[in-house]
Amino acid sequence: MSTVAEKILARVSGNKKVMPNEIVMARVDVAMSHENADVVLRSFREIGVKQVWDKDRIVILFDHRIPAESEKSAITHKRLREFVKEQGIKHFYDLREGICHQILPEFGHCRPGELLVGTDSHTTTHGAFGTFATGIGATEMSGVWATGELWLKIPETIEVTLCGTLKQYVSAKDVILHIVGTLGADGANYKAVEFTGETIGRMSIASRMVLSNLSMEMGAKVAFVVPDDETVSYVKARTSKEFKVIGPDPDAHYCKEISIDVTDLGSQVACPHSVDNVKLVREVAGTRIHQALIGSCTNGRLEDLSTAAAILQGKTIHPDVRLLIIPASRKIYLEAIKHGFIETFINAGALILNPGCGPCLGAHQGLLAPGEVCIATTNRNFKGRMGSAESFVYLASPATVAFSALTGAITEPG
């Protein structure tokens, strides 16, 4: 009778069964914060508890402003390093590891059937492991640090079934941009999404994470890919903790069911200044670009770098373009070096940045001037997101970004 969201929230709230719109008190399995742990810390001190509820369930890491781009960030980092020591927080990843939404799965913190909360809206990414993963505010997180609990409303669930085989150069990014464009920026507000279907079965873990990551941009509270054997072996290789895969009941109730055949899907692009302003790449082909970016928690993984390297191999990017490459983690960076991708990028004229968020949030490392255009594999193109409020950000797949970097204009892959 129940969806994945309902079953996991019943488990973590100690109920047999829960219904949509019910509010429950839930026990948190993993609580993640990046640099905004500093805001959490302020409220935590205000509550007046001396010790966090469980030092082994809190994850703190630095990825948004690394290395520190200002004295203010340096002080934030310093204060948090001291807090981590003071509390004995075990899972702390200083600026050498990479982006939170890659580090959590890489280090075995995403386990099927668990409740994971993070002070970052794209925490939905971890639904790709069958984890109930959602973003929360800093004030709420201080409550979690103090008590290990928070209240959650049971969401209704939308089921998205994908069938068919993707064409060459069309990827999970194109699929989810198409879905966000169709359902709209609030198409899944407050809802859970369950991705299913034969196409997903053939997708890599990295591609499934792209679906869950961008589901945030249609308001989803959580976005599951039900774990299969591949998920289970990925997770088992990274954690010794026991976990239980939770799938939907065959007669689960969905508030909406959507089926998409991806066979004829073309490359997609989200145009300025909203993620649901989605068009076919060919409709905006020829738009001049100044910057191209491959990276972020959406598309900075090995398969993304591999796609881009294959396209850029032996070629040189357009002289008017800055191409920035940001591996999502140190491990991915090392793998990319081993495979020769990094050498290919450097030869092509790209700049390799340290694993982290880079300019995605507009803090540093490659901001845009008024009138400039960037095509990026990231997940947000709001006005001013990556620098000037008069700049323009287009969101696309790694293949589209790589081809566009070569020609200096938005280009249909192929």
Partner: protein
């Protein structure tokens, strides 16, 4: 946090009486609290002076502390700014009754101790300037003008606890100090 004694007293008595200030559907957080004031985060009275300022400037001159906001669907949609809930709380709004709320606004309101209730179809039963009497615990709403009664979706006891404590931080302060 409980500076506004008017509504904190009402909530602990479980009974709220107030005049209705009515809005339609999809009132977003930019409308409630304009982006240009986002840098104000700690001056509560200053925040309260900008509620609805750009789009519904009348609000600031005609609404009164103690008023009840009644709205249609998706109240508080858009950006997740906590100030949208905070400015209404500090203005003295005693309660928001809406047909539905956007997810993050609803959470922010409760965690800041601003009473909110979901009331199906309320915009069809209540007009601007009506006076309502609400039993916050039972969720029963009485229109003092015509005696009509409506039922809000009930909130579980711990949510009521957070709201009546004045928000999550004071609630946890009490709880962690062993008062609850």
């Amino acid at each position: 946090m409980t500076k506004n004694t008017r509504f904190s007293r009402s909530v602990t008595r479980d009974r709220i009486v107030g005049k209705v200030y009515k809005f339609g559907n999809n009132i977003n957080t930019d409308v409630i609290y304009p982006g240009k004031y986002l840098s104000i985060t700690t001056d509560n009275q200053e925040m309260a002076r900008h509620c609805f300022e750009t789009v519904y400037p009348d609000f600031l001159t005609t609404a009164q502390p103690g008023d009840i906001i009644v709205a249609g669907k998706n109240f508080g949609c858009g950006s997740s700014r906590e100030q949208a809930a905070a400015c209404l709380k500090y203005f003295g709004i005693s309660l928001i009754l809406a047909e539905s709320f956007a997810r993050i606004f609803f959470r922010n309101a409760i965690n800041l101790g601003l009473p909110v209730l979901i009331v199906p179809n309320i915009t069809q039963h209540v007009v601007h300037n009506d006076t309502l009497e609400i039993n916050f615990k039972s969720g029963i709403i009485k229109n003092m003008k015509n005696g009509e009664e409506l039922q809000a979706v009930k909130l579980p006891p711990f949510i009521l606890g957070i709201i009546s404590a004045g928000g999550l931080i004071p609630y946890l302060k009490n709880r962690c100090a062993g008062h609850e």
